[in-house]
Symmetry: C2
Subunit: 239 residues, 2 copies
């Protein structure tokens, strides 16, 4: 049995009782170092942890499968929701039905960041990752254009990475071919964790701000506006 | 002070400790009947609840504001995440800075439904509500087309309502102008609640299934496939 568990944004206050109960049942918990650091304080010293390196997602899932097939109950953890750019899909692909896999959702960065910025996701939105490790940049560009043309709110995951600090700037240029530079936007760094910061700004200003891999960025639709310093997208059109 | 609190899919196991702690601090909790029924068992009998009618969202927020300005700590509850088609935006609009409003996210239906179906939201996705109470149907159609053309996974909220049972069928027809009828899809009814049910199916079959206002529907991208009876969208393209 493998539980793929989302820890939410990071604080103990945002891990659901269901997620915690599943991890309690596990003989051991597998995860990338940063996630294990989040989870370790929640359990007594008896709990066994297997720490794995970043980017070794497939190896981590194969390790979880191997341990599960040896009869142990395994927890595979990540921050946010494992179903959204997370470990759920790859675990199902690696397991291919050979062991039971239960996915336990967590609060994803779109939700946690939106709550800090106000309510920018109050109407239809598109979620786009700027990581081109697995998706060609041309496809990402096409999705940015389509989302802007169809007047979606746009929520950007992985706006930058170690090797690619310029992705958000390129994305903003593409969006500004279609959207006005004054379009309300915002970003949150490390939502719910130590060092959390955020800013309500505009699409045009995003390029001048320090937005790194720990940030989530939200760009409003035509209906989004700023009220009392927070982003709000009313449901449907303004009454 | 007003806390706008998301209860998640419905079960007590998916309400975060942060949400619960905020509601503990509240003198009274305002919500639509069905949500109050979810929250009432979590508290002792001392807690005061104000039950309001469905669709009276603005009235509910005005009541919350009035109570808050009279010096009470108010919790405004809804299921899922209040930031996604929920009460967060309208509460900020009604409050206009006259009282402190804190948004506490919950697990939204996209996450809870995806976890039940497998991992269909593993790559870029668009979230679209089919409710045309506040958004013109033409705009909704445009967003469906744009999402299909840009190869997003599509997650549909409010696929039907009491007055509009045919919306999902119309949406499926629009999507099939662009996408193959065999495109993997799935739906979940009452995720995490009594009477939960789900099905992994295809876009073409959605029209023949009983999909009501309690369902969330997910239609895959070109990368989505079925593995061991579950939907998986690999991150990026298949290796």
């Amino acid at each position: 049995m493998i539980y793929v568990v989302g820890l939410g944004p990071g604080g103990a206050g945002e891990i659901t009782p269901r997620a915690l109960a599943a991890l309690e049942k596990c003989d051991l918990i597998v995860g990338y170092k940063a996630y294990v650091e989040l989870a370790r304080p929640l359990f007594d010293k008896e709990k066994e942890f297997v720490v794995s390196a970043m980017k070794q997602e497939r190896d981590r899932c194969e390790e979880a499968l191997r341990l599960s097939l040896s009869g142990r109950t395994v927890g595979l953890i990540s921050s946010g929701d494992p179903g959204i750019y997370g470990m759920a899909g790859i675990m199902l692909e690696v397991a291919r039905g050979r062991t039971e896999v239960e996915i336990i959702p967590g609060i994803t960065a779109a939700s946690s960041s939106a709550a800090i910025l106000g309510a920018p996701l109050g109407c239809d939105f598109a979620v786009i990752s700027l990581s081109d490790l697995l998706t060609p940049w041309k496809v990402i560009e096409g999705r940015l254009r389509a989302a802007a043309l169809a007047d979606f709110v746009i929520c950007i995951y992985n706006p930058a990475s170690h090797g690619r600090p310029e992705h958000l700037s390129r994305a903003a240029d593409i969006l500004m071919e279609i959207l006005p530079a004054e379009r309300p936007a915002g970003w949150v760094r490390s939502a719910g964790r130590k060092g959390e910061s955020c800013r309500v700004t505009t699409l045009g200003e995003l390029k001048n701000q320090k937005i790194d891999m720990f940030c989530t960025v939200i760009i409003g639709s035509s209906a989004t506006y700023v009220i009392d310093g927070r982003l709000v997208t009313p449901r449907g059109y303004r009454e």
